[in-house]
Amino acid sequence: MNGMQLDVVQYLHDFMAHVMPYQKEIWHAIGETFVMVGISIAAALCLGLPVGTLLFLCRKGQLYENRAVFSIVNGLVNIIRSFPFLLLVVAMIPITRMIVGTSLGTVAAAVPLSVVAIATYSRLVEQSLLEVPKEVIEAASSMGASTLQLIIKFLYVEARSGLTLGLTTSTISFISYSTVMGIVGGGGVGDFAIRYGYQRFENELMVFTIIVMIILVQSIQFGGSLAARLLDKRRA
């Protein structure tokens, strides 16, 4: 028993001895991941939320039913979401270059990521808003709410826990998407794990990165679920 414990301690010691020299690089990679994911979360909130709301409002049977707008936006969202992500990154290079002036680096990598973020989150927003009882919309109109007031003071308030959970789910998938950004020099933890861990046969580095990612994802999910629960007053 004692011997086994010693073995574990010895193993951990060796493990950390492999990892420690790369501390600086690891932190740098984590920072890059945060930049890419942060920009895409911002894009999801600033553009995905309105696009999702538009999808909801233009749907059949909803307040601003509009088949043309719905079909176009819906189709666009589907197309973006059906692209294999790596191909989207490559296909978007000219557009990325137009927007940020270069197709390489962390900020450039955030562009295709943001596009996917908008598409993903808008779909989740649409789904959350569909769960709001139609009666709430009726009550809002009876009180003389304008469209903007209806959206902000009724729809978003009633759907806020769903919107939070959606953003949590999206954030986690953005992290996952961001790991392939090495292809355009975006860096990030995924890129680090591949270049240092996989390609240089330093399994310890790869395992360490995966553990970091697991902790990251777990805490985001925990925080998101907690916030959604606290925001939800629909049941006693």
Partner: protein, 274 residues
Amino acid sequence: MNTCRLICGMILYVAQAITLAGRKAGRAFFMLARRPRKGGILLISLHNVSKSFVTGGTRHQAVEPVSLHIEEGSVHGIIGTSGAGKSTLLRMINVLERPDSGQVMVNGQDLTLLGERQLREARRAIGMIFQQFQLVSNRTVLGNVAMPLELARMPKAERMKRAAEVLKYVGLEDKAKHYPSQLSGGQKQRVAIARALANYPKVLLCDEPTSSLDPRTTADILSVLQDINLQLGVTIVIVSHEMDVVNRICDHISVMESGRLVTTYPVVKEGDPT
């Protein structure tokens, strides 16, 4: 003989005339005594409004062309079985359902002719409560009551004061910080009533307000509505499928049947000297 008959006839004729005139005068007197506040001004006037819905490719006439006139200060009941079109008729009063044809006059304005912005303004003077209360469940009771004032952009301090005031009126000031899910059905409907009253409406539209409540709570809510009518002078239109409910508080009742308004009659209240 002849003179005798003539005199008798004359006496009878005069007597009849006196009784008739007396009855007329008496009726007029009682009418006045019963509703002294009512000036007979038409607050709501629907002219030949109709509405049809298309479901699954077939057109269904929910409301045939209907005319309805409601005086200021009255409590008007609309009764009928489910599917008779009474809720649709009620929803046309604040153009929540836009009528296919006809005119909706409320407070001297034809609501069907108003633009979006003006219609919103007009709706703010028309309170509405529903069968399922339709409160915002992620907002506190006070937040719900303050909502119409917030929509009308009343300054915060002022609207909180007003919301607390109406909440007190319905007897729920101690529940201000609660969320709707923590309240009973009757309490939720009181909150909904407070919300509808917050912005000083002239009209309160009630769509089956007691249909999901038990008999005792129903009586409670009806007495609140009656107080609102008597104390605040708010005109009330109430849709229900329960005769008992409309009989209890309405002064006029309209009966609807398969989209048609069959009849409208005044209610003779118990205890009224008629």
